[in-house]
């Protein structure tokens, strides 16, 4: 490459740059993401085989289209220099708030206002919002990197995140709101906010959670809807009400457990086939996977996730700037939390919140944003490696 630059003409520089760019992509990250998408499609096709009478491939065909859209977005985000978002962080934040507000205008879908209907597909803005919030907060913190110990900076960042999270929370989509808070926490942490500030924030957040989940309900003040409180705390004692609020969790645990080491196969997975797992294409897809393919099949998925997370953490380290490092860290942390909360909910170690499993759950918004995250990580990786080289 270097030789070509040296003795080549100016015209040949562009393809040369592209080649350098392409060579510095993180292929392990691609392999992990590609593996996850492929594995996810395979799982989805097996899980939804009997869902639409007469069209066994209904879900998997549509999910394939989602993947196609996602790949386009991934390529686009890889190509664009992430520093652009830092400059655009104010308009982007405005866009985020507008997107989150717009769902209140749109019709309510399934009793909660999470979707925007744009003709050919229904889009969930809070999913995309996750990514926008990450770059906005990272941008804000990077701009004030020298004043991170000031409460003013910390609280402003918290305010930006908390306002967006609040909008999502009142949709209501508690799970995604939680992801927003997670992204915020990761950003503050990696940006370098002093430990004392972080500790103070942590204590406050803990107190708020206890107040919300225990003190207020006991006192008869319902900020969370009662079913939400029950779903969030129900996993702590699932046998309390097995046919009621914890029904899904109990059935899911039974499904996962019954998979054993090798799984029960597609035809033998009665929990899935008899619809004991209602949302088995989306939120509870992991339960179906674990029932059909057992511990071995579930482990393959977990290892692919671990691979992606490991690459993500490497990318935080090679990031060319504080801004990109914070973005990468937030993405990694959001992914980890989302994986943990979703899978944890199916096996009874996390509350039941309706968040999808990245790369696997059926749904356009989730697939799109998951692949966009990979694109953003790639963009950071390439620029970090190129900067490191020069």
């Amino acid at each position: 490459m270097a030789t070509r630059v040296l003795n080549g003409h100016a015209r040949s520089q562009a393809p040369g740059e592209v080649a350098t760019f392409v060579r510095h992509l993180d292929y392990l990250l691609f392999a992990a993401a590609g593996g996850l998408v492929a594995y996810g499609l395979w799982v989805l096709s097996a899980v939804t085989r009997n869902d639409v009478a007469g069209d066994a491939d209904y879900y998997v065909v549509r999910q394939g289209i989602n993947v196609g859209l996602g790949v386009v977005a991934l390529v686009a985000l890889t190509a664009v220099n992430p520093e652009l978002y830092r400059r655009l962080r104010r308009p982007l934040y405005g866009l985020l708030i507008a997107l989150l507000a717009i769902v209140f205008v749109a019709d309510a879908v399934r009793g909660s206002q999470r979707w925007i209907d744009i003709g050919f597909f229904r889009f969930q803005p809070s999913e995309l919002g996750k990514l926008i919030l990450i770059v906005c907060i990272a941008g804000f913190l990077a701009d004030r990197s020298r004043r991170l110990e000031e409460w003013r900076t910390v609280l402003s960042a918290v305010g930006l995140g908390a306002f967006a999270a609040f909008l999502v929370f009142i949709e209501p989509d508690f799970g995604t709101a939680l992801m927003y808070v997670g992204a915020l926490a990761a950003a503050l942490f990696i940006a370098g906010v002093p430990w004392s500030r972080l500790a103070a924030l942590g204590v406050t957040a803990g107190a708020a959670a206890i107040t919300l989940l225990w003190v207020f309900p006991t006192a008869g003040i319902d900020i969370l809807k009662p079913y939400q409180v029950q779903r969030l705390t129900g996993f702590l004692n699932p046998d309390l009400d097995p046919s009621g609020t914890t029904y899904n969790a109990t059935q899911s645990i039974t499904a996962v457990g019954s998979g054993g080491l090798n799984g029960r196969g597609v035809a033998g997975a009665t929990q899935t086939n008899l619809n004991y797992l209602p949302e088995h294409a989306t939120d509870f897809i992991f339960s179906s996977l674990a029932e059909q393919r057992g511990f071995l099949g579930a482990s393959i998925l977990l290892l692919l996730y671990a691979l992606i997370v490991w690459r993500g953490i490497k990318i935080i380290a090679v990031a060319p700037s504080l801004f990109t490092a914070v973005v990468a860290a937030s993405i990694v942390f959001v992914l980890v939390t989302q994986i943990f909360v979703n899978i944890g909910m199916t096996i009874g170690i996390a509350p039941v919140t309706g968040i999808p499993l990245p790369f696997v759950s059926y749904g356009g918004s989730s697939m799109l944003v998951s692949l966009m995250m990979v694109g953003l990580l790639q963009a950071i990786h390439v620029r970090g490696r190129l900067a490191g080289r020069s």
Partner: protein
């Protein structure tokens, strides 16, 4: 920052470890327990047949209702979970308990192999002691279920089985073509007769829902209906049960008379009574008959084979609508009306009635060799003179446009009547065109004078059903209107005791079609028919002459080639089919009747007395003592 990245990594690793360990604990360490839970946690969809609607006679007498029964079923999905040895053991144990052959159970299961979620019924109508045994030993019979079932109960006894039809489990072919109408595997569906025609009203709406069962198939939850079963509607017939019984008795009586009169092959027949004003069927009997209970519960192969054996003479055939016969002299009024309408015959023109005529070298004889005089139309009908009608037939032969067949078609011959019970035969109205189409040799393709001569007296290739003949005599009775025969008055929803049923749908047949016949022509034919039952030379005057109500009608003795044993390569011989058709009271007819006794000999011997017996019941008058006479 490196430290913080490290901490983030540690958190990630910790969370992944937590997931791995929890999964390991759930799936590998406690997997067996959860597998057991999952197996005990199965939902079975189920479908409960709605109580089938009752079938009532015109006054509300119950002819068919329901009785509770029990059936033993196997759930293929649950059954498949067992090992082969367990399955075999269970099948042989079930077989010996229920007195079935293990082979038959396997066959039944195999035939439903593609539908594991619908239970396979292996025995219906199981005795209580066996049901109790199965309940007590349910753990020994995984996948076996005991289901209540509604079975048909024939309150009317053996009344009109061919008409009512029977009900049985839906067949695979029916399922394929009727799934869109809401039928599902395992449904019981009307297979023949009215049960088939009115199945969509009678069957009601099956209940659907789901129930949770454990791994052994034991029900562990209440039934949750997504659709409650809704009983079927009742079907109210136009049939009068008492008259129907009388019709069946009359048929048996006619056959007995025929045999007493040395017509030893007499072995079946049909009788139809119709309201001439609208085509409502008042009675419709077919002989031989059978016990409809044969099809209730377990259909015994032995009984079924006996029913379908050739020597049983097709007891399931409804001869009134599906039996086709040459009508013989009962057809003469058709010939007469057609000739009068076409102005080819003057009713007062004397035509010779001699013992025989020869047409194109072929000799045609009169049934009565002793008459030799000229007569006009009414006496020719009274005496049923064949040679008179042969000569009329020759006039039709002169015409190239087949006017007799055209009029006969208009009067409902050669096509379906549209009655709401089937399968209906349309018979055969032979024409020159039909001959050309139907036959292969040049000589057979030609319509000869003999064909016209034979057709004029209802012979030759002509074939009619007893129902078509009844409808024609109803037309004579009602002044020239063709009615649509029908058996059902209305569909109704039964109400609690004492309350009148709600009419869901009245059945409106097509309005009678007026053929605009010449009233004079009609009147002369009616006179001829009255003379036939009252004149000194009337063919059934000995039976209807003394009868308390004025009846008009015509005998028929139709030759039909019957396959008979002992006739070698010829295979059989011509046998006389005994017919009588007519109506009464002549002034204002309220009933038209046709009786047919297969191989019963002369019309006056068997069919006319049978019809008389039905009239006697209908008008509630005494029967005429029958002196058998030989008359056409």
């Amino acid at each position: 920052m490196a430290i913080r990245i490290g901490i983030l990594g540690v958190i990630a690793v910790a969370l992944f470890c937590a997931l791995f360990f929890r999964l390991w604990a759930l799936q590998v360490i406690s997997g067996e327990r959860y597998l057991q839970d999952a197996r005990n946690n199965q939902i079975r969809p189920y479908r409960v047949q709605a109580p089938r609607g009752t079938i009532l006679d015109k006054d509300g007498e119950v002819l068919v209702s329901n009785q509770p029964g029990t059936q033993v079923q196997i759930w293929p999905a649950a059954f498949k979970e067992l090992s082969k040895a367990e399955r075999n053991a269970e099948i042989s144990e079930l077989a010996s308990l229920l007195r079935l052959k293990p082979k038959d159970i396997r066959k039944e299961l195999r035939s439903h192999a593609d539908d594991p979620l619908t239970p396979v019924t292996i025995k219906t109508s199981v005795r209580d002691d066996k049901v109790n045994y199965l309940y007590e030993h349910q753990a020994d019979f995984p996948g076996v279920e005991i289901q209540p079932v509604q079975l048909r109960s024939y309150e009317g006894g053996r009344i009109a089985p061919q008409l009512l039809g029977y009900v049985s489990e839906i067949t695979r072919e029916q399922l394929e073509s009727r799934t869109k109408d809401g039928y599902a595997a395992g449904d019981r569906i009307g297979q023949t007769g009215l049960e088939a025609t009115y199945d969509r009203y009678l069957r009601g709406i099956a209940g659907e829902g789901q129930v949770r069962v454990d791994a052994l198939g034991r029900v562990t939850s209440d039934r949750e209906y997504s659709q409650l079963p809704q009983p079927g509607y009742s079907v109210r017939l136009t049939i009068d049960a008492d008259l129907q019984r009388a019709a069946e008795d009359a048929l048996a009586y006619g056959i007995r008379l025929a045999i007493e009169n040395d017509e030893f092959y007499a072995d079946g027949g049909a009788i139809v009574a119709m309201d001439p004003s609208d085509g409502a069927i008042l009675a419709m009997a077919s002989s031989p008959s059978y016990d409809p209970k044969t099809f209730v519960g377990n259909v015994s192969r032995k009984e079924l084979n006996a029913l379908r054996a050739p020597e049983a003479n097709l007891p399931q055939l409804n001869r009134a609508v599906s039996g086709i016969y040459p009508p013989g002299s009962t057809f003469k009024p058709v010939t007469a009306l057609a000739a009068l309408q076409e102005k080819m015959l003057d009713p007062y023109e004397p035509i010779q009635c001699d013992p025989s005529i020869t047409v194109d070298g072929q000799k045609f004889v009169n049934w009565d060799p002793y008459t030799n005089m000229a007569m006009n139309l009414a006496p020719a009908i009274e005496r049923s003179c064949d040679t008179y009608f042969y000569r009329v037939g020759l006039r039709f032969y002169e015409r190239k446009d087949s006017p007799l067949q055209k009029w006969a078609r208009r009067m409902g011959f050669g096509s379906l009547t549209g009655i709401d019970v089937g399968p209906e035969e349309e018979g055969l109205m032979p024409t020159p065109a039909w001959r050309r189409r139907h036959f292969t040799t040049e000589i057979d393709k030609i319509w000869t004078s003999g064909d016209s001569v034979q057709l004029a007296i209802g012979q030759g290739d002509l074939l009619t059903t007893p129902l078509q003949m009844t409808r024609f005599y109803a037309l004579l009775a009602n002044g020239g209107k063709l009615v649509e025969p029908h058996l059902v008055r209305q569909i109704e929803e039964p109400k609690a005791d004492g309350q009148a049923p709600v009419i869901v749908r009245p059945i409106r047949p097509k309005p009678p079609r007026d053929l605009n016949l010449d009233p004079n022509a009609l009147r002369i034919v009616q006179e001829g028919l009255f003379d036939a039952t009252h004149g000194v030379n009337g063919t059934s005057a000995s039976i209807f002459g003394p009868f308390a109500v004025d009846i008009a009608g015509k005998t028929g003795t139709a030759e039909k080639f019957q396959k008979l044993p002992g006739y070698g390569s010829i295979g059989g011989r011509l046998l006389d089919q005994s017919w009588w058709c007519g109506y009464g009271p002549t002034e204002k007819p309220t009933i038209a009747v046709c009786a047919l006794i297969e191989n019963g000999g002369h019309g006056g011997t068997a069919a006319a007395p049978a019809a008389m017996k039905l009239f006697a019941k209908y008008f509630d008058v005494t029967e005429t003592p029958v002196v058998p006479v030989n008359s056409d």
